[in-house]
């Protein structure tokens, strides 16, 4: 190993500043949400307490968060189940060449990178033209899938790239059908990754805003409710809600990571 150069220390310092830039704002609202009843939207903090965190669960003048939260959970669960199962199927298809595979690959990528306003407007227009009314469960779900499915697919593609096909061949040589091979060999092997993908998809759906914003219909999901709040809430309850929902996302990511680690370690033994 070479001795560390000046470049290393400069870059390390830069990286440190970058991490501060990423997390700093989040940390300030964590601090500001832990204020007493006399708290305001800005520093300095007069007293510490859990008053505002409790306020989130009270009936609010500007809106109610319990129901949007439930909607986001339900929608997240449906989107996760769909995105995970569909992406497993399609990434298995991509292990061999088939006509139109390149086409489908680029279509999936376009769904990821198309400007989000086009998805929102497009689904809105489609519902308008067909005379359907937009709803978080139908049009909202479509908007969520246009974003979460490509990401789940790309991760699954990477997972199947590293998947050793000889296990399946062995199962098939022993006379197992395709379905049986999948349930008894492939699925248990990809399970840890699949749980990880599922939880990440869930947080993406749970936090999705731009694509859903114009097509959620009458009832808001949680991010939309929070967006509505930003214009008319002047108490730290807004920060408290932000803190809670961010902690919720963090715990999902943490569970995803540890589930993946534990399960893949079990398989090795």
């Amino acid at each position: 190993m070479k001795p560390r150069s000046l470049t290393f220390y400069l870059l390390a310092g830069f990286f440190g500043l970058f991490v501060l830039f990423l997390y700093g704002p989040m940390i300030t609202i964590f601090i500001l949400s832990l204020q007493g009843p006399d708290g305001t939207l800005t520093f300095p903090v007069r007293s510490f307490g859990f008053y505002w965190l409790g306020q989130v669960f009270q009936e609010q003048r500007v809106g109610n968060f319990v129901e949007p939260f439930q909607r986001s959970l339900v929608l997240g669960a449906i989107v996760t189940a769909l995105a995970a199962s569909v992406s497993v199927l399609s990434s298995m298809a991509f292990r061999e060449r088939f006509r139109g595979s390149t086409w489908l690959f680029y279509l999936t990528i376009s769904s990821l990178i198309v400007p989000s306003i086009l998805i929102s407007l497009g689904i809105g227009v489609m519902f308008q033209v067909f005379g359907w009314s937009t709803n978080w469960m139908t049009s909202g779900m479509g908007a969520h899938l246009s974003w979460t499915l490509p990401i789940a697919f790309l991760i699954m593609l990477g997972i199947f790239n590293r998947f050793n096909p000889s296990y399946e061949e062995a199962a098939r040589d022993l006379g197992a059908s395709d379905a049986k091979t999948f349930w008894e060999v492939v699925l248990p092997l990809i399970a840890p990754s699949l749980i990880g993908v599922g939880l990440l998809t869930f947080t993406l759906s749970y936090d999705e805003f731009t694509r859903t914003s114009l097509v959620s219909g009458q009832y808001n999901t949680l991010p939309l409710e929070i967006f509505g709040m930003t214009t008319n809430v002047t108490s730290p309850a807004l920060y408290a809600l932000g803190t809670l929902t961010t902690l919720f996302s963090f715990s999902m990511i943490a569970i995803a990571y540890f589930a993946y680690r534990t399960l893949s370690r079990q398989q090795k033994t």
Binding site: F14, M26, T42, L89, L118
Partner: protein, 286 residues
């Protein structure tokens, strides 16, 4: 038609659900935007027709032109700042962090905020940048300024800062990926031939990471071109972008006009993406 056997059909069956979902929620909606952009709008609803008025309106309006220029300004500034910040970060992670374990861990540290709520991440800037925010308090406390800086929040500066904060991972991840793939022997070989540290970077590392930069740039361009949330939340009332314009038109149910604007936006974005692909060949990254 002959009946095909299961092994031949299998990939098509497996890929079918994804194809159907993408057709329903991506292809048909965008085709319909194209159709509706030629429809008429009579003040309260849209009617099927074939008129070019929506497009003529766009191309003859000064407001649209200005809005596009402003959007390009955001794209350029966000692209520049994500690249200038993102490249050194990715370079540090891949070339200066010693163990793979640490590289992955620090990279994950950078990605975590991406999985949390964009809205909350934007709101988080308010107590820092506001008129009575932490930055102004610190600057006034040290006596550097007498009046609070107004441009920090609800300004173009805030919009660029907010977008950089939200989207920088889309620049870092592809660059990090392509830097990690560079064969370290090439670097050693260049050093052995007497190249300086900067020479190695300029002649070996930078060209080999160009595909990563290109993919990151495509992400940034497409994300920022249609942006309306950051522009609305961080830009206050004044900042304009084409996404926000479309959103306002949808708000007043002028779907045909919004659709025509969206088609122009899509074509402009595609042209930018094609330009990037012309400059850099990304094929080997896929």
């Amino acid at each position: 038609m002959t009946v095909k056997s299961w092994p031949t059909l299998k990939p098509y069956v497996l890929a079918a659900p994804q194809t159907v979902l993408l057709l329903t929620f991506l292809v048909i909606p965008i085709l319909l935007i194209g159709v509706v952009s030629f429809w008429e709008f009579n003040g309260y609803s849209m009617t099927p027709a074939f008129t070019l008025n929506n497009y003529i309106g766009i191309f003859t309006s000064d407001v649209t032109l200005k809005t596009y220029l402003n959007t390009f300004k955001f794209v350029g500034l966000v692209w520049l700042s994500t690249l200038m910040i993102g490249y050194p970060v990715a370079y540090f992670l891949s070339f200066h962090v010693p163990k793979l374990q640490w590289q992955v861990l620090l990279f994950l540290l950078c990605t975590i905020p991406f999985w949390t709520s964009n809205i909350i991440r934007m709101i988080s800037w308010v107590p820092l940048l506001g008129k009575e925010g932490l930055v102004n308090q610190l600057l006034m406390g040290t006596g550097l300024i007498q009046q609070p800086l107004e441009f920090l929040l609800y300004s173009d500066f805030a919009v660029v800062l907010g977008m950089t904060h939200l989207y920088i991972i889309f620049m870092i991840a592809p660059i990090f990926n392509s830097l990690m793939r560079i064969d370290r022997n090439l670097v050693t070989a260049a050093e052995d031939m007497g190249a300086s540290g900067f020479g190695v970077f300029k002649e070996v590392i930078l060209p080999l990471s160009a595909p990563g930069i290109a993919i990151g740039s495509i992400f940034i361009v497409t994300l920022v071109m249609g942006e309306f949330v950051t522009v609305r939340l961080m830009g206050g009332g004044q900042a304009a972008s084409i996404g926000k314009l479309i959103q306002t038109q949808i708000g007043s149910v002028q779907y045909p006009l919004a659709a025509a604007n969206a088609m122009v936006l899509l074509i402009v974005t595609l042209m930018l993406v094609i330009t990037i692909l012309r400059v850099v060949n990304i094929r080997k990254e896929l």
